[in-house]
């Protein structure tokens, strides 16, 4: 099984303020689960390049939370906190995702999303992740914050956007 065979789908549904991702992994479900639940493993993959993740606090149980930072090469650091609502071992994790401060306090001005991750066996392990925002306003606030990067646009990407918006 080579990397290119592994499925990755990403679909945003504007009607339900939801992002749905499906990704396959060439490893046993228990190993994938470990990478989602153990802080020393999460630190090794959870920050997208070029950031690095570092766990400040992890209590992987229902009612517990993961508090971690993601740091840019220049040193800018972003803090997040995931509150674990439901944990079904090796099968499902539901967390409340949110922006936080270095002390672990959740930013009350920013909306939180619910992230539902389901793990399934097969020839490969499939992880389905559904990120749900409570309302269009919540999603708007998160996008506005992410707009700082502010990059230009071209019409070439219109088709891709429309495909995202219409896919279920």
């Amino acid at each position: 099984m080579t990397k290119t065979d592994l499925r990755y789908t990403f679909a945003a549904d504007m009607q339900t303020n939801q992002i749905r991702m499906v990704r396959e992994f060439a490893a046993p479900r228990s190993t994938v689960w470990a990478c989602y639940s153990r802080p020393e493993l999460l630190d090794r993959w959870f920050a997208p390049e070029p950031l690095t993740a570092k766990t400040a606090h992890m209590d992987f149980r229902e009612g517990g939370h993961w508090h971690f930072s993601m740091t840019m090469p220049e040193g800018d650091t972003y803090w997040s906190r995931f509150d674990y609502q439901t944990i079904t071992p090796e099968s499902r994790i539901i967390t409340l995702d949110g922006f936080s401060d270095p002390e672990g306090g959740v930013n009350p001005d920013m909306p939180r999303s619910t992230v539902d991750m389901q793990f399934e066996d097969g020839e490969v392990t499939t992880v389905t992740t559904v990120t749900q925002y409570a309302s269009a306003e919540d999603l708007q606030a998160v996008i506005d914050m992410g707009m700082e990067a502010g990059i230009g646009s071209t019409l070439d990407r219109l088709d891709a956007l429309l495909a995202d918006l219409t896919s279920k």
Binding site: A34, V142, G146, L155, R157, A160, T166
Partner: protein, 116 residues
């Protein structure tokens, strides 16, 4: 951070409707008159104009009336806001998952080497 609010809520509402998405896709090929845009849809002009108004209020399109013809033009920046964000999310998760692939490969190899 300056006030960078871009009021995307009307944008989402505007794009949630199939007729309006079709109009946006059509305008991606270039400006068009309201009557040309309305032609493919089985609805009266007043109903269609409501869709045009929603798109205009969301900032997705601009309209200009010259004589008796109202011409609509796609406002690219507006679309770019949501598009950029979704693309960024998709790329961030792609990066994460690629790193997870490498970690899993390493962990799987370790398990095979020292079974305990």
């Amino acid at each position: 951070m300056e006030n960078q609010s871009t009021h995307l809520d009307p944008l989402f509402h505007a794009l949630a409707d199939p007729t309006r998405r079709a109009v946006v896709a059509r305008l991606g090929q270039g400006p068009a008159s309201v009557s040309d845009l309305a032609a493919p849809f089985p609805m009266g002009l007043p109903a269609f104009l409501k869709h045009i108004t929603v798109l205009e209020e969301a900032g997705l399109i601009g309209t200009e009336k010259v004589g008796r013809v109202r011409t609509c033009t796609l406002q690219e920046d507006r679309l770019a806001a949501a598009e950029d964000w979704f693309r960024e999310q998709r790329e961030q998760w792609k990066s994460r998952y690629d790193q997870l692939d490498e970690l899993l490969a390493e962990l799987t190899k370790d398990t095979e080497n020292d079974k305990d």
